[in-house]
């Protein structure tokens, strides 16, 4: 194989691929990037066996071939080179030679056959999605995905593709987010998939200036094409719990509050909360709302009054301050509505006014307060 490219092209491609390259692995081949140069161009591929990234490299092709080349060494030398042309040659023994105006660098590659095969992406359904839709889904849901590997179904975001809407759901058992986009309509695919959080984070980084992305939904994989880059992930092979049944429908008590005010209050008050429970309480007594906390271990306490509109009976409800802050900071609205029922039932958080064609619901479970 012999190709010639510019430093910036190679650097940009390798930087993208490094995101799917494991830092340490008992499969050393995964620390390599696969170069495939054929008459259609030069494609680079990297994988950590969960996610595969394929990106083209603008290069002039002198001789076709393929080889797996250690990514980090290649990226390091590319980073250190000034802007120049790089000629990359791989011989039959997989010896890689980088020729530049500054010098010649040799390193050992590996046969392309040793590199993991490209995922078998059969039975795919092709969809198109506006970048803003996927960006909103990632921003609104990924924070609520579980990190607990004992609950594999919850370690990803559930995508429910319908012909007239797209629903994305994430939960970790303590909080749940449901985000519905009713302006997303397509006829190609109806079904549910669970997409790992890591992949969504990666897609978020790749979105950039692109306006549209293509999704290929397969039985085992989801492929996202952003521009000329292709990112493939394995899907989670589990059944997502029936989330609809946990969203209460009879939360009659309603608190309308400015998001910045309540978020600021929770942030400040939680500083004085217990370091292990992070417990804060929302007290609504005689129509007046306060955020309070008490830590008997450190003999510290805090209280802040909130300006809010409330309809319902008096209520004192406890929350983990970290979860509450997460929910409040991800609701992008000036005013939010909190629907409550009792001190031990789930609360629902909504933006006061939903953005057109979207429906965002966040649910937070309370913690039982010590009397």
């Amino acid at each position: 194989m012999k190709i010639s490219t510019s430093k910036s092209e190679l650097q940009s491609a390798l930087q993208k691929l490094s995101k799917a390259t494991p830092a340490r692995s008992t499969l050393p081949i995964l620390n390599s990037v696969l170069f495939v140069a054929d008459n259609e161009g030069v494609l680079l591929r990297a994988t950590d066996l969960e996610i595969t990234i394929i990106t083209p490299l603008e290069a002039s092709l002198e001789e076709t071939g393929s080889a797996a080349i250690p990514l980090h060494t290649l990226l390091e030398i590319t980073n250190e080179l000034p802007d120049t042309r790089i000629s990359l040659t791989v011989d039959a023994q997989n010896r890689v030679k980088l020729n530049t105006d500054f010098g010649v660098y040799d390193l050992m590659g590996k046969p392309a056959e040793e590199f993991p095969a490209i995922p078998d992406v059969d039975g795919e359904n092709s969809l198109t999605m506006d970048t803003s839709v996927i960006r909103d889904i990632i921003e609104n849901t990924s924070f609520a995905v579980s990190k607990d590997e004992l609950k594999p179904a919850l370690t990803g975001v559930l995508f429910q593709f319908g012909s007239d809407k797209l629903t994305a759901v994430a939960t970790d058992g303590h909080r749940l987010v449901r985000y519905i986009r009713s302006d997303y309509q397509q006829e190609n695919y109806n079904g549910d998939i669970i997409v790992p959080r890591k992949f969504l984070g990666l897609v978020g980084n790749f979105l950039g200036e692109a306006e549209l992305i293509n999704l290929d939904v397969g039985d085992k994989h989801l492929t996202v094409k952003i521009g000329r880059n292709k990112i493939i992930t394995r899907l989670i092979d589990e059944r997502f719990p029936d989330y609809e049944s946990v969203i209460p429908r009879d939360n009659e008590k309603q608190l309308l509050v400015d998001r910045e005010i309540i978020l600021g209050a929770v942030r400040r008050v939680s500083i004085f909360s217990n370091r292990s429970t992070h417990q804060v309480a929302l007290r609504i007594i005689d129509g007046k709302a306060t955020i309070t906390t008490e830590d008997p271990e450190k003999a510290s306490s805090a209280q802040e009054n909130l300006e809010a509109e409330y309809s319902g009976d008096d209520l004192v409800i406890g929350y983990n301050a970290n979860y509450l802050k997460d929910i409040l900071s991800h609701l992008k609205a000036n005013k939010i509505t909190i629907k409550l029922k009792t001190a031990i039932s789930a609360a629902l958080f909504y933006p006061e006014e939903q953005i057109e064609n979207s429906d965002l619901t966040m649910l937070l479970m309370p913690i039982r307060l010590n009397d």
């Binding site: 095969a117 590997e149 004992l150 370690t155 039985d219 085992k220 394995r234 092979d237």
Partner: protein
């Protein structure tokens, strides 16, 4: 390095595994147990290769891309788990390799490479005495993802008895997975010490007990002048064969002779020398220490067989008269207890006991047992 076909190594077990694959009844967990060096790890790798082979020929073709990647132990469906040292600070949820030094990572990669080239190579990372819980939790992170390519995911756990060290948290983490095994995944636990595994893990595995390797395999492996002697001494243990084969017959017999002289003769100066030298060896050359005690075990086995009139490879010109004399001198000797005392010494090394004291105890125990006390 001669590579054997799985059917040559363990024909009965391989036949059973082939039938399992042919019948499409591949289980979610297997336990390969048996004496050391009986080809368990080699067969486990062959099994993974067979299941994932792209050619539909009723056995692994060895040439398709999948077989080649498994030959190099670099297959996406193959996960190797083996004991790792504790280094740096990492939590049980981290990547199992996190916190390991560059030197250890290099040693791991070299060991995997050596294992790929030599089916009887034993992966031994320095100071690795346990399988960390993070290695099992790491499986969970990817086990519930849909399989990337055709084939079946195979997770090989070498030295599986080291799952149960400490409070057995690692074994319990694995148990949790085995109770609800991920789809299209097989675990193969490989161990020399089945009894150290949790009964709850044993009950969830299909157990295959390996006999020692057939003599013809060992003879085919050896081309040294001492092939017959080594084959007779090793009793189907390929790890022992490889160590014994490095020594010439005379060298081997002299080593055994001088070691037994040192231990059996009740002489304070001799014993002090033995304790000092072997304590140094235990910390500096632990493998040599284990090997020498293994030789001692072989000598006692041969002496026992001489007493009961069974042939043994060590009944050579130099050693046979000594053994005869020994059995005449100590008619009440308790060979079983001596064998256990030797095993205890090698175990003490793994458990980091104070070796000079262990060796002193060992010497007095051997003397007592020789008198039948």
């Amino acid at each position: 390095m001669k590579q054997f076909m799985p059917a040559e190594l363990q024909p009965v077990i391989w036949d059973r595994l082939q039938k399992v694959v042919a019948g499409g009844r591949i289980g979610s967990a297997y336990l390969f147990s048996g004496p050391p060096g009986s080809g368990k790890e080699a067969l486990a790798i062959e099994f993974a290769k067979f299941i994932n082979c792209e050619a539909d020929s009723g056995q692994s073709c060895g040439i398709c891309p999948s077989c080649q990647r498994i030959n190099n132990l670099q297959h996406e469906n193959l996960t190797l788990i083996f004991p790792l040292p504790r280094e740096g600070s990492s939590s049980s949820n981290d990547d199992p390799l996190k916190g390991l030094s560059g030197k250890t990572l290099t040693a791991i990669n070299e060991a995997i490479k050596s294992k790929a080239e030599d089916q009887f190579y034993k992966i031994k990372i320095p100071r690795a005495n346990t399988i960390p819980i993070s290695a099992i939790r790491d499986i969970r992170k990817t086990a519930y993802l849909k399989t990337a390519i055709q084939g079946r995911r195979v997770i090989l756990i070498f030295d599986a008895h080291l799952l149960s060290t400490g409070e057995g948290a690692t074994a319990n983490a694995l148990l949790k997975i085995l109770e609800e095994p991920p789809r299209n995944t097989s675990f193969v636990l490989v161990t020399d010490n089945k009894s150290q595994l949790l009964p709850t893990i044993l009950s969830r595995c299909q157990q295959l007990d390996f006999p020692p390797l057939p003599e013809k395999v060992i003879l085919a492996f050896l081309n040294s002048e001492n092939a017959q002697l080594v084959t007779g001494m090793a009793l189907g243990n390929m790890h022992l064969v490889r160590k014994l084969a490095n020594l010439k017959s005379d060298e081997l017999l002299n080593t055994i002779n001088s070691l037994t002289n040192l231990i059996l003769r009740k002489d304070g100066k001799n014993w002090r020398e033995f304790v000092n030298n072997y304590s140094r060896m235990a910390s500096g050359e632990p493998d040599q220490f284990r090997f020498n005690f293994c030789l001692l075990q072989l000598w006692f086995r041969a002496a026992y067989r001489q007493r009961v009139g069974l042939p043994d490879a060590l009944h050579k010109d130099l050693l046979l008269p000594v053994m005869k004399e020994f059995n005449k001198l100590y008619p009440a000797i308790d060979y079983l207890a001596i064998n256990e005392a030797i095993t205890d010494v090698t175990r003490a090394l793994a458990r980091n006991y104070y070796i000079p004291l262990t060796l002193t105890n060992f010497l007095t125990t051997v003397q007592r047992r020789m008198q039948g006390r």
